[in-house]
């Protein structure tokens, strides 16, 4: 059995606006990291660089306004083979994002750090879509000396 990180946030915007922030390079650079190379197109691999490593990510699914699914194909060994998904559900006043990062091998300090950091970046996604103000790497708040 493998372990998963789960988050849930609501974005006060219709699904297409949240989807664009997840499914395009211009979206990702505004809430996740400035350093995205390649395009997050279906079947393609793009690279997301942070201070402590570069993650290579293949886009497994892009379902318009509904779901984005990735798998990590290169980078820190804890991430390789894990799967990340963003599920969009329209609500009365918001689009709910159900986030899952599945396939972790152990609940160690690295998973804990990444969980805290995903929470932070998902709030950055929220403020980017709602207000046009994200806090992507390297403008992000450092949560510890690990970044």
């Amino acid at each position: 059995m493998t372990l998963r990180i789960v988050h849930r946030i609501g974005i006060a915007a219709p699904p297409p606006r949240a989807y664009r922030a997840l499914a395009t390079r211009s979206g990702l650079i505004n809430w996740w990291t400035w350093h995205i190379t390649g395009e997050p197109a279906l079947g393609e691999v793009f690279h997301a660089k942070f201070g402590n490593g570069t993650f290579s990510i293949r886009v497994l699914e892009l379902t318009q306004d509904l779901r984005v699914r990735w798998t990590c194909t290169g980078g820190p060994k804890e991430w390789v083979g894990t799967e990340i998904s963003f599920e969009l559900a329209p609500g009365d006043r918001e689009t709910v994002i159900g986030f899952v990062h599945a396939g972790w091998q152990e609940t160690g300090e690295i998973m804990a750090h990444c969980n805290s950091k995903w929470g932070y970046y998902l709030l950055s996604l929220k403020t980017w879509v709602e207000d046009g103000k994200g806090s992507p790497y390297p403008e992000d708040r450092k949560i510890s000396s690990w970044g």
Copy 2:
């Protein structure tokens, strides 16, 4: 088998300052919720109120500058019987907080919401200890229509 939420943050302050924020009522009201009744003393039950419920929490362990451990004895059914711990580890430039909320029965939307919210409050703990500026409930950022 039960499920756990894990977070890891570093606070640029010595362990006693982080410990005080976790082990005293005056600490908790400055980063978690204004509405703490009772004292978080060893063996005692205190109550932490938020918009969507009140959590009754028994203090299982208070090990000076090292560890605080709670169990939830009342409140939303998903929380009752779960155990929360904060482990403090001194580092070169920071005190690392290892947070665990264990005993979840399912990885549903409520666990996802609570995980995102814990990440937020642990950053509130960090800014409270480092800068004297926390963002406890009800001054916290709402992450969705759930609070």
